[in-house]
C-alpha cells in the first residue's frame, strides 16, 4: 500500500467521523453571482480527494468543503479559472481533476475514441463495399457436411 493510499484512507476515516455537512453550504456561497457561478462550474470538475468518485460540488465530506472554500478564496483574490486549477493541481496533483489534462500519455485517452471510430468505420466501409460485389450464392447452397450427406444418400 502506498503512502498516498494510506493518507487517503486516514483522511476518509476523519471525514466520516466529522459527520455530514451536506454539499454546498449557504455560508459558502459568494455574494457576487457571477463569481459564484464560476466557482460552481469549477467545483464540478474537481474531485473530492477522499471520496469515491464524487466532485467537491456534490460531496458531503469536510475536505470537499475546505476545497470549495479554497476555490472561492482564489476567485475572490482575482485568479482566473486556469490559475485556480493550476493552483490546485500544484498542491494536490492531477488526481484532483475529474477531466484529465490533455497532455502526454493522456492524449491516448482523448484520441482513442475518435481514432477507433475511424478504424471501425474504415473496416466497415471496406466490408460493405466487398459485400456489394460478392457473388450471390445459389439459394440452395449446402454446407460441406450436407453435401457429403447428400452424396451418401445419392450413392445408396
Amino acid at each position: 500500500m502506498t503512502m498516498r493510499a494510506l493518507c487517503l484512507s486516514l483522511a476518509l476515516v476523519a471525514a466520516v467521523a466529522a459527520g455530514p455537512a451536506a454539499a454546498v453550504q449557504p455560508d459558502e456561497v459568494l455574494a457576487d453571482p457571477a463569481l459564484e457561478e464560476r466557482a460552481r462550474e469549477l467545483s464540478k470538475g474537481l474531485r473530492c480527494l477522499v471520496c469515491r468518485n464524487e466532485s467537491i460540488d456534490e460531496s458531503n465530506a469536510e475536505l470537499a468543503r475546505d476545497l470549495r472554500i479554497l476555490v472561492r478564496e482564489r476567485l475572490v483574490a482575482g485568479d482566473s479559472d486556469e490559475e485556480v486549477i493550476r493552483y490546485l493541481v500544484d498542491r494536490y496533483g492531477e488526481f484532483v481533476l475529474l477531466k484529465p489534462m490533455l497532455t502526454g500519455s493522456n492524449l491516448v485517452l482523448w484520441i482513442a475514441g475518435p481514432a477507433m471510430l475511424l478504424v471501425a468505420g474504415g473496416i466497415a466501409l471496406i466490408y460493405l463495399r466487398g459485400r456489394r460485389r460478392a457473388e450471390e450464392p445459389g439459394p440452395d447452397s449446402l454446407s460441406e457436411e450436407e453435401r457429403r450427406r447428400l452424396d451418401e444418400i445419392l450413392a445408396d
Binding site: P20, P26, D27, N53, F95, K99, L109, L117
Partner: protein, 652 residues
C-alpha cells in the same frame, strides 16, 4: 441444520454442473443421444438445489439467525422485514448466490424453451452454460461461503449499510443480474455454434430472444439503479459515470449492438463472425463488471468487497472464458462465410453503422473506466477520469446514433436510396427542426444541449411513428395488424428518444437554490414558493430522524407538503440524507434539509428538475418495446412447434 443443508445443496449443484459440463459435450461429439439427454435433468436439478440453498439463506435472514456470520454482519433484529429479505443480496456472498441462482435459472430455461433446437446443438449450449455455472459455484464455495457459522453467536447483528435500506435494493440487483447473467446464454450459444462450426440464419433467430430478454432486464436494472441514486444520494444526480455504473452500461451497449447484428444474421446471413464476437464480448463485459465491483481495483460507491483474492478468481474466470472463446473464434472464423449481398446504402449498412457507433462508444466508456489504472501502471500518473470526460467523449456517439436511427429504420434491405428513405420521414424532420427553432428562440441562457437534445428526441419519436405508418401502408386499420416485432422496434426506438429528451431537459434547465431558511418565512425558486413550516425529531424503527415539514406553493395555491429528512442509523453509525420529491410530469420539486445554522435557521437546498421522470419513462418504454418484440409470433411459433425444422426467414 437448515443452513448446513443449504450448503450441502450448493455442493451437490456444483457436482451436477461439473457432470453437465462434460457428459453432454462428449455425447454431442460422439452422437450418443443418451449422453446428450443427461443435460436436461442436471440443469433442472441445479436450479432446484440452488433454489433450495438460496431459500435456506433467506430463511436465516428472515429469522435473524445470528449463528450465521453473514446474517450478523448484514442484518439486525429491528430492521424492517423487506430489508431483511433484500439484505440477502446486499452483500458479496449473498449477491453471488443470487448470481448463480440466476445462472441455473437460465440453464433450466434453455431446457424448457429450447425444444426446437437440434439435440446436438442444445447439448453443447447446455454444456457451455454448465461450465460457466461451475466456475461460479467454485468461486462461491471456495472463496465466499455464505453459510459460514459463528463460533459464538452474538445477541444482535451489525445492521445493513443504511444507504442500502431502501426498496431500491429489493429490485435493482435482481434485474441487473438477470441482465448480466442472461448474456451468458448468448455466450453459450456463440461458443456452441463455434464448437459446431456453423452459424446460420437459424442460429441468429435462436440467440436473439435470449439477448433481447437479457437486454430488457439490463435496461430495467440500470434504470432502477439510476432512479434510486436520484432520490437517495441527496442532490438528484441520475448518472455519475462511476466505474460500477459503467460496468453495467458496457454490456448494455454491446448487447444492444448484438440485438441488431443478430437480425442481420437471421434475415441476411451476413455479419456472422462479428455477431459471434459481440456475443462473446457482451458476456465478457458482464464478467469484467463483476470483477470491477468485487475486486475493488477501481474505487466506487458500489464496491462492497475489496478483496484481492476474489478479484483474482474473477479475473481468472474472465480470462479463461473470454480467452477460450476467442481462441475458438480465431480457429473457426474462416468457416463463417457471409452469404447476403447488399449495396452500401441499405438496411444492412445502417445496422453496421449502428454496431460501429455502439461498439466504439462502449470502447470509449471502457478506456475511460480503466484509464486511471493504465496511467498509474505505465506512467506512474495518478489521475481521475470523471463525468466531464465521459460527457465530452461519449455524447457525440449518441447524437450520431440518434440522427441515423430513424433513417436506418425505414431503409429497405439489400439496396435502398437515401432520398427515397427520407420521403416518409419528411414530417418528422420538419417537426424536429421546428422544435429546434422554437426552443432556441424561447429559452433563456445559451445552452445548446436543451434545443438540440429536444429536437433529436422529437426526430426519434416522430421517426418511429412515421415508420409504423409506412409499414401499415398509410392505413390506420392495418396499423394494429402489424407484427409485434414492428411495434416493438418502434416503441423501443421511441423510448430511446424519450430518455434522450429527459436527460437533455434535466441537464439544460435544472434550477438550484441554496439558502438558510427561517421557519415560517417563504422563499421563491423558479416560480414556486417554498415554506419551511417546522423541523422535528422523529424516531424510526432503526434510526433517528431530523424531519422537516415544507410546503410547496404555486401562485398561492398549495401543491404539496414534503418531508425531507436527515437520518442517523445508530447501529451502523452512519448518517443519510433523505430528499423529499414532489414528482410531476413537467418537473420534480426536490427538497433537501441540511444542518441547523447558528441563527436558528436551517440550510435548505431546493432543486426544480424539469422533465426528470422522462428519463426513466423512456427506459420503461424501451423495455416495453423489447418485451413486445419478444412476444412476436415467430418466437412463439418457434417455441410451440416442437421439433419443427427451424428455417431461415426470407429477407423482406
Amino acid at each position: 441444520m437448515l443452513i448446513e443443508l443449504g450448503h450441502f445443496a450448493l455442493i451437490l449443484a456444483f457436482a451436477l454442473s461439473l457432470v453437465q459440463s462434460v457428459v453432454p459435450l462428449v455425447g454431442a461429439h460422439k452422437g450418443w443421444r443418451g449422453w446428450m439427454a443427461t443435460a436436461e435433468p442436471t440443469a433442472n436439478g441445479q436450479l432446484l438445489l440452488t433454489g433450495f440453498s438460496f431459500a435456506a439463506l433467506t430463511w436465516a435472514f428472515v429469522t435473524s439467525d445470528f449463528s450465521v456470520r453473514l446474517v450478523v454482519t448484514n442484518s439486525h433484529t429491528l430492521k424492517p422485514m423487506i430489508y431483511k429479505i433484500s439484505g440477502v443480496w446486499g452483500n458479496h456472498e449473498g449477491s453471488l448466490l443470487l448470481w448463480v441462482l440466476i445462472l441455473t435459472l437460465f440453464g433450466a430455461c434453455a431446457v424448457w424453451f429450447g425444444q426446437n433446437l437440434p439435440p446436438r446443438f442444445k447439448a453443447r449450449v447446455l454444456s457451455v452454460q454448465a461450465m460457466v455455472t461451475a466456475a461460479f459455484f467454485g468461486f462461491i464455495l471456495f472463496t465466499s461461503n455464505p453459510f459460514e457459522r459463528m463460533a459464538l453467536p452474538p445477541f444482535d447483528g451489525q445492521d445493513l449499510n443504511p444507504l442500502l435500506q431502501d426498496p431500491g435494493l429489493a429490485f435493482h440487483p435482481p434485474f441487473l443480474y438477470l441482465g448480466y447473467v442472461g448474456l451468458s446464454m448468448a455466450f453459450s450459444f456463440a461458443v456452441a455454434a463455434l464448437i459446431e462450426g456453423r452459424v446460420d440464419a437459424a442460429w441468429g433467430r435462436w440467440v436473439r430472444p435470449w439477448t433481447l430478454a437479457a437486454w430488457v432486464f439490463l435496461t430495467i436494472g440500470i434504470a432502477l439503479g439510476s432512479w434510486w441514486a436520484y432520490y437517495e444520494l441527496g442532490w438528484g444526480g441520475f448518472w455519475f459515470w462511476d466505474p460500477v455504473e459503467n460496468a453495467s452500461f458496457m454490456p448494455w451497449l454491446i448487447s444492444a449492438a448484438l440485438l441488431h447484428s443478430a437480425i442481420v444474421v437471421e434475415k441476411r446471413e451476413a455479419l456472422k463472425s462479428w455477431t459471434i464476437l459481440l456475443a462473446i464480448m457482451a458476456f465478457g463485459f458482464s464478467l469484467i463488471g463483476a470483477f470491477i465491483v468485487r475486486s475493488g481495483v477501481l474505487t466506487s460507491v458500489h464496491a462492497f468487497a475489496n478483496d484481492p483474492e476474489r478479484g483474482t478468481y474473477i479475473l481468472a474466470i474472465t480470462g479463461v472464458f473470454v480467452g477460450g472463446a476467442l481462441t475458438l473464434f480465431t480457429l473457426r472464423a474462416n468457416q463463417m462465410q457471409a452469404k447476403g449481398v447488399f449495396g452500401v446504402v441499405s438496411r444492412e449498412s445502417a445496422l453496421v453503422a449502428n454496431n460501429v457507433l455502439l461498439a466504439v462508444s462502449c470502447f470509449v466508456v471502457f478506456i475511460g473506466t480503466i484509464w486511471p489504472l493504465v496511467a498509474e501502471m505505465f506512467w506512474d500518473r495518478t489521475l481521475s477520469v470523471g463525468p466531464p470526460f465521459f460527457d465530452a467523449a461519449f455524447t457525440p456517439f449518441m447524437v450520431a446514433l440518434s440522427i441515423l436511427l430513424p433513417i436506418g429504420a425505414v431503409m429497405p434491405w439489400k439496396r435502398g436510396s437515401f432520398a427515397k428513405a427520407m420521403r416518409p420521414l419528411r414530417g418528422a424532420l420538419a417537426l424536429a427542426f421546428a422544435t429546434l427553432a422554437l426552443i432556441w428562440a424561447v429559452q433563456t441562457g445559451n445552452s445548446a444541449l436543451g434545443p438540440i437534445g429536444t429536437a433529436l428526441a422529437v426526430w426519434l419519436v416522430a421517426g418511429a411513428a412515421s415508420e409504423l405508418w409506412l409499414r401499415a401502408g398509410n392505413r390506420r386499420a392495418r396499423l394494429w395488424r402489424l407484427p409485434r416485432a414492428d411495434w416493438g422496434k418502434a416503441v423501443a426506438h421511441a423510448g430511446f428518444g424519450i430518455t434522450v429528451f429527459g436527460i437533455s431537459a434535466l441537464t439544460a434547465w435544472e434550477m438550484e437554490d441554496i439558502r438558510v431558511a427561517q421557519i415560517g418565512e417563504p422563499f421563491d425558486v423558479g416560480g414556486y414558493t417554498i415554506r419551511l413550516d417546522s423541523v422535528d425529531r422523529v424516531e424510526g424503527p432503526n434510526y433517528l430522524s431530523t424531519m422537516a415539514t415544507m410546503t410547496v406553493l404555486r401562485e398561492d395555491r398549495e401543491i404539496a407538503v414534503l418531508h425531507p429528512e436527515k437520518r442517523v442509523y445508530p447501529v451502523a453509525q452512519m448518517p443519510t440524507t433523505e430528499a423529499a420529491i414532489d414528482n410531476g410530469i413537467t418537473r420534480d420539486v426536490y427538497l433537501v434539509i441540511g444542518d441547523r445554522q447558528d441563527d436558528g435557521g436551517w440550510a435548505v437546498r431546493t432543486y426544480i428538475k424539469p422533465f426528470a421522470n422522462w428519463i426513466w419513462l423512456g427506459c420503461i418504454v424501451m423495455s416495453l418495446g423489447g418485451f413486445l418484440s419478444l412476444t412476436d409470433r415467430r418466437y412463439r411459433v418457434a417455441v410451440g412447434a416442437r421439433r419443427a425444422p427451424a428455417m431461415a426467414a426470407p429477407a423482406e
